[in-house]
Amino acid sequence: MSELSIRKTAYSVEDIFHEGGPKPLCSLRRGSAMAVIHNPFAGRYVEEIQWFMEDLKPLGLQMAEKLIALLGGPDQIEGYGKGAMIGEDGELEHGALWHAPGGYAMRQLIEPSNAIVPSTKKVVGIGGYLDVPITHINASYVRSHFDSIEVGLNDAPRKNELSFILVMSTGARIHNRAGGLAATDIEGKDGLR
């Protein structure tokens, strides 16, 4: 039986039209999805934790589907990332359970998506914030798409909770001009270039 107990979800979308320079043809849309769930391992050391990743798979898919829809559909997504915040009675390692269900949910729904999903995680008190990194979905070295989104909720995670996060973007940074590999020049399928 699933141990998954969701207390709260939060979705956020922002549109960026310019940042002081020439206004681009298309605005950039970025979004985040967060689920605050009960941590079944809070308050004690549990050796075997990997079974919980199975419980998290449907949650990952549900969050990815909703976020993709908010950003205009799978063909609009060009960047992604994921993160986890662990309430204080948990352990950093509990956040690492999100790597597979969070990452592969997005990669299953966004095709192709050859690049590794960048991530970060930390143990926080209530009201903690996390800067979730973003990279291009098909080539990690695409410089124009390196970005990140800050996420947080004033009332989460409580000490026995986990906040799991997915983030996506629809394009490059506004006014990007730092050079490097361009999205139009992605070569192969190795996920890097």
Partner: protein, 194 residues
């Protein structure tokens, strides 16, 4: 152009106990941060070359600070990351110019090899705001035990015309890694991924 640095800070974090269990040897993370003047604050400048040069300089400077603070040799470094927070008179693209074109290569020299992409984050922010630096294994990005991050915060930075640049280096993964995936000892470390 050389960076005009107002201040630097280096933090080392050690974890000796996690969820009641002793961690021996302790896992250790270092983050070095420089607060620099933003040469392009308050104006739109097309060519960001000066900031790219500053990035190269800070890759060496901050990478070395971390390795020194951990008291390890370059080859003992296991994961790394980089981040920048731009004060409100700057532009997000200024962080990109510092971090992405030229900071990585000199940082890799400081930690020896460094086949993997250096994970990064960037944002606009004001004094006292938190910057989370992502961490990943330096030679094989898929090593699951080394996905982590470290927070850095300075109460007085970045001011509006400043940029806060951070580099993080560790000599270890998470305290008690056990979510499977590629192990550091099984990583080939040639393609940067596995």
């Amino acid at each position: 152009m050389t960076a005009q640095i107002r201040k630097i800070a280096v933090n080392v974090e050690e974890t000796h106990k996690e969820i009641g269990r002793p961690i021996s040897p302790a896992t250790r993370k270092a983050v070095a941060v420089a607060v620099i003047k933003n040469p392009f604050a308050g104006q739109y400048v097309e060519d960001l070359g000066d900031l790219m040069e500053i990035g190269a300089e800070l890759g060496t400077f901050l990478g070395r600070k971390c390795v020194e603070a951990l008291g390890i040799s370059a080859r003992e470094a296991e994961s790394y990351g980089k981040s920048a927070m731009v004060g409100e008179n700057g532009e997000l693209e200024h962080a990109a110019a510092i971090l992405h074109p030229k900071l990585g290569a000199p940082l890799r020299k400081e930690v020896e090899k460094g086949a993997a992409l250096v994970p990064s984050s960037k944002k606009m922010g004001g004094p006292g705001q938190v910057l989370d630096v992502p961490l990943g294994h330096k030679d094989a990005a898929y090593v699951r035990s080394h996905f982590d991050g470290i927070e850095v915060r300075l109460n007085d930075a970045p001011r509006a015309n400043e940029i806060m640049v951070a580099v993080a280096v560790t000599d270890s993964g998470r305290p008690i890694p056990r979510v499977g995936g590629l192990k550091a000892k099984d990583a080939v470390g040639e393609d940067g991924l596995r």
